[in-house]
């Protein structure tokens, strides 16, 4: 008998045996008497939980089915209040944060973006006027509310505290519970943390929701804390990490030396114990420690092997190779008296030998078990986590600081960006599937982050790319635009002829090659005084003599007059005195030239009294600084530091920016419909959508509805 025959015979024998076993087990299962019908807790759990699931699902379904006619009728009755007839069945808005019209045009003309080219050809492609300043939380707030910043109260990422000149996050404030119980060394919180949103104005999806129109809103910036409305929303930019910061990575190393990171990260020592290395992830303050401020930590253990390492974090064990990320790992920070906080993070093995170095992403709020609300309803973030697995929840999820600090290299940063991007795509397509009628809006941050970090490769002589040989400068931004184009194509395939598609960006992009320290200029020109004997100041105006300071700057574009009676130590008389100073500063700064190149560093100085209107203008800066192309506020100036140099090269990977003269960085507006207006603005999107769904426009809107011809291109 030949070998194949033997094998064939063995296979037959095995199949007979398996069949026999299956038959026997089948008989046992089919012919049980009462006492043998149970086979352990596993089977019991499976049966009970399956039954329970089906039972609950059945109840829900019956409820939904029986009440649907009434709810539908109720919606129809409510929609009777909608005065006009809806011109569209569905609106899909893709927000590509920072997509630049100049680059988009260039790549379209080169034939690299066929889907956006199709929209441009058959529908619309326009520059989209952005806000003053052209900063994401400002522009997206205007996008959603249809009003200028004077009515929504967001002027920058940061705002200043008039009582101490220190910054605070402008969009949201997370504070400990109001009441606490102090027992010995413990401070027991009585209640939940207080989260206060500081963006004002009503997002247009609230109006849609109230009119019975379904809305799915995903990761639009400045939506934290999530507001209640009839629809689902996942918060975007401004969601903090578990430490309460806007993203603090952790770099664990067995190397004993290393400078502290300027911002965005902490170094944590990793100690060797024989063949094992031990370190920890720093977490939030212990809620029970009160003001004494004990930090919660999650320890982890690293066991290096030949080409990889085994990492143990709590009950999670996984292996990592050099240059690879882990999946999202759930971490639990245990506090005293049973208090705990749940987060997720990813590990990246940077080096295994001779030293061990591990980068850990900022600890994101666990979307499947959120300790702070990050969605409305709260269950929406849980739903997405159960459906797709854990995902980044941090507002600025792509760790630009880690690349700036050279903790991550280009490839590691891109891997992180595109992993988040893919999660976002899955969420978008699920929302498209769930929202057949109504609004589906989703913002992708990848466009912004990647352009910030890789603009240096677009230019021949960008200071931040000098170290990188020309043949190693990759086409990252071109690849990014191609990816976004593919996404647009996939969305176009999903939508029908009754769906309006808008591709919107909040601003464009330009190079950031030169830093301008405006505080240094103010100091050298006698507007900002330093304490006696000081020629420079530390962060946040540490050495500033406020009693002799007339103007200062902090944040990205705001310039402030030190007004008497407003600032704690203000010296400039409000009214005519402040107006005269503002005019003087405008005259001197507008057209400020960089002596190194002769280029204009500031192309516009904008008086906020003229550009803003609304109830919150008092919170605005006094002037908005419009930097010229290639310039931006220096890293030090943003942090209220006074240096001796006004202009300097930007050597960081963060090499592109948009916080410049807003006239230089319009966003994009693509549509599958014809839009008549030649110069639409980002404030026009909200009124346009409301009008297309047949709703009345609130009178406080600053934007105007665009003239859209609903003749959807196939």
């Amino acid at each position: 008998m030949s070998c194949p025959q033997i094998q064939s015979g063995r296979k037959r024998n095995w199949s007979k045996r398996i069949s026999l076993i299956v038959i026997i087990l089948g008989i046992i299962l089919l012919c049980p008497v009462h006492s043998q019908a149970y086979a352990g807790p596993g089977a019991g759990f499976a049966v009970i939980s399956s039954f329970w699931t089906l039972f609950v699902a059945f109840l829900y379904s019956v409820y939904a089915f029986l009440t649907w006619p009434f709810r539908h009728l109720f919606r129809l009755l409510r929609r009777r209040r909608v005065p006009g007839k809806a011109q569209i069945k569905r609106a899909v808005i893709l927000g590509f944060d920072g997509m630049d019209p100049v680059l988009a045009t260039r790549f379209i003309n080169e034939g690299k973006l066929p889907n956006l080219a199709k929209l441009r050809g058959r529908g619309t492609f326009r520059n989209l006027r952005t806000t003053f300043p052209a900063i994401s939380p400002v522009a997206w707030s205007t996008f959603m509310t249809g009003v200028n910043p004077g009515k929504h109260n967001i002027y920058d990422f940061l705002a200043r505290d008039l009582s101490n000149y220190l910054p605070f996050l402008s969009s949201a404030e997370v504070r400990p519970p109001k009441r606490t119980l102090k027992i010995g060394k413990y401070t027991i919180p009585l209640g939940k943390p207080r989260i206060r949103g500081m963006r004002r104005g009503t997002p247009f999806w609230h109006w849609l929701g109230k009119a019975g129109i379904s809305c799915s809103v995903i990761r639009i910036p400045a939506t934290f804390p999530p507001e209640k409305f009839p629809g689902v929303l996942l918060s975007g930019m401004c969601v903090p990490d578990l430490k309460g910061s806007q993203g603090t990575f952790c770099f664990c190393s067995t190397r004993s030396v290393g400078d502290e990171f300027r911002e965005g990260g902490v170094r944590v020592p990793m100690e060797r114990h024989g063949s094992v290395c031990r370190s920890y992830i720093p977490g939030p303050p212990d809620p029970l420690a009160g003001s004494s401020g004990g930090e919660l930590r999650v320890p982890f253990e690293v066991r290096p092997e030949t080409n990889q390492t085994r990492i143990t974090v709590g009950s999670e064990k996984f292996t990592l190779k050099v240059g690879a990320y882990s999946d999202w790992i759930a971490v639990k920070f245990k506090g005293t008296l049973g208090a705990s906080a749940h987060g997720i993070c990813r590990f990246y093995l940077k080096e295994l030998s001779p030293e061990v170095e591990i980068y850990v992403t900022p600890v994101n709020i666990d979307p499947g078990r959120p300790d702070l609300p990050i969605s409305h309803p709260v269950t929406y973030s849980i739903y997405l986590a159960k459906l797709f697995g854990p995902y980044a929840t941090l507002g600025l999820a792509e760790d630009t600081w880690a690349l700036n600090e050279e903790v991550l290299d280009d490839q590691a940063f891109l891997a992180q960006c595109y992993a988040n991007h893919e999660d976002r795509e899955r969420m978008l397509f699920d929302a498209l599937d769930k929202t057949r009628h109504g609004l589906c809006a989703c913002v992708f941050d990848t466009t912004d982050r990647v352009q910030h970090m890789f603009w240096r490769y677009l230019e021949e002589n960008h200071p931040a790319a000098r170290k990188v040989p020309r043949d190693q400068r990759t086409n990252v931004i071109e690849d990014l635009y191609c990816r976004m184009d593919v996404l647009v194509g996939r969305v176009m395939k999903q939508i029908d002829e009754h769906t309006l598609l808008l591709v919107v960006s909040d601003h464009g992009f330009k190079s950031f090659a030169r830093c301008v320290n405006l505080n240094a200029w103010l100091h050298q020109n006698g507007y900002l005084a330093l304490k006696s004997g000081k020629s420079e100041s530390g962060d946040w105006f540490e050495d500033v003599d406020w009693s002799h300071t007339r103007a200062y700057t902090m944040g990205l574009n705001g310039l402030y007059v030190n007004v008497k009676g407003r600032e704690r130590e203000g010296i400039v008389q409000s009214g005519a005195g402040a107006e005269a100073l503002k005019q003087e500063l405008r005259d001197k700064l507008n057209g400020l030239v960089d002596p190194a190149s002769g280029a204009v560093g500031i192309t516009g100085m904008f008086d906020c009294d003229a550009i803003y209107s609304g109830p919150y203008v008092d919170n605005a800066p006094d002037l908005i600084v419009g930097y010229g192309e290639g310039f931006r506020a220096s890293w030090d100036s943003v942090m209220g530091k006074v240096t001796s140099e006004i202009f300097e090269d930007n050597l960081k990977a963060w090499s592109g920016d948009h916080c410049i003269d807003p006239r230089l960085v319009p966003g994009v507006l693509f549509s599958n419909c014809k839009i008549a207006e030649e110069k639409p603005g980002i404030a026009d999107v909200a009124p346009t959508i409301l009008k297309l769904f047949g709703l009345d426009l609130p009178t406080h809107f600053d934007g105007k509805p665009l003239t859209v011809t609903i003749d959807i291109a196939p």
Binding site: L25, V33, S35, P41, F45, T53, A64, P377, K434, R436
Partner: protein
């Protein structure tokens, strides 16, 4: 007819094995031990990741029904997905069952001998039922008892079922054999009389019928060619008092092992 044997042999009593005589304690201990074993077996024979994903999907679709309840197509499609996911989850959860069903079934069958019935009590009447192959020989069937037992009423014939019944009472504790004589052949059946709480009893002796014998009888088969099909002794079924309720042992085992399983799966972080 045979003399009674010792009924306190440790080799035949669970009490002897576990060192306890309380059925409640036995069931509680068994539930704990078996649930721990089963949970561990489940851990190593199941695809934990796939089970976690399947359960997460189930929860997601349930949430979808709630989140998008105003959109009937979404609700209905979610319901369909719930059914599909439930099937997937059951398939994944029942794969480990294949590894444990045989040993566990055999174990439960054996335990049922000890915990399903209580032994007969001296002085209290019980029934002995004989089923024959045909109605013709019903009148020829007789019951022979050891001296410690007596028939308390005339035999009752049930021709429709080919059965004869006797009411019998035992005077003393012991493990006896009663003998049924028919067509010149004798067939014995074990009878256990004891006040002890945990003893192995077999309520029926059967001819042929392998699977029924495996699950219900603890005695050798009646010879195949004989006229007697079954000899049955009606033992009282056992109820266990636990938490203020009377339980059949299997239900108590079911509940306790579920609770213990839940505890162990949580402690050992096992996905079920």
């Amino acid at each position: 007819m045979a003399s009674p044997t010792s009924i306190h042999s440790p080799s035949t009593a669970v009490a002897g094995i576990l060192g306890v005589e309380s059925p409640t304690v036995v069931v509680v201990l068994l539930s704990l031990v078996i649930s721990l074993l089963m949970v561990v077996v489940f851990r190593y024979t199941s695809d934990q990741k796939a089970i976690r994903v399947a359960k997460d999907h189930l929860k997601a679709y349930l949430l979808a029904v709630r989140l998008f309840q105003d959109q009937l197509p979404v609700v209905l499609s979610s319901y369909g997905r719930i059914l599909i996911s439930t099937g997937r989850y059951l398939r994944l959860a029942f794969k480990p069952l294949l590894f444990v069903i045989l040993p566990l079934t055999l174990l439960i069958v054996q335990l049922d001998r000890y915990l399903g019935w209580t032994p007969l009590v001296p002085g209290r009447a019980f029934l002995v039922k004989v089923r024959t192959g045909n109605v013709v020989i019903l009148d020829d069937v007789s019951l022979l008892l050891p001296p410690e037992m007596a028939i308390t009423a005339p035999a009752v014939h049930v021709p429709a079922d080919n059965e004869v019944l006797w009411r019998v009472v035992a005077e003393k504790e012991g493990r006896y054999n009663v003998t049924v004589a028919a067509a010149g052949q004798d067939f014995s059946k074990e009878v256990v009389v004891s006040s002890s709480r945990l003893l192995r009893v077999s309520s029926i002796r059967l001819q042929g019928r392998f699977w029924e014998r495996m699950f219900t009888s603890g005695e050798p088969a009646i010879p195949a060619k004989g006229p007697i099909r079954a000899v049955e002794v009606k033992y009282p079924s056992r109820n266990i008092r636990f938490a203020g309720l009377e339980w059949n042992w299997i239900w108590l085992f079911f509940v306790l092992s579920l609770v213990a399983g839940f505890f162990f799966k949580t402690v050992l972080k096992i996905e079920i």
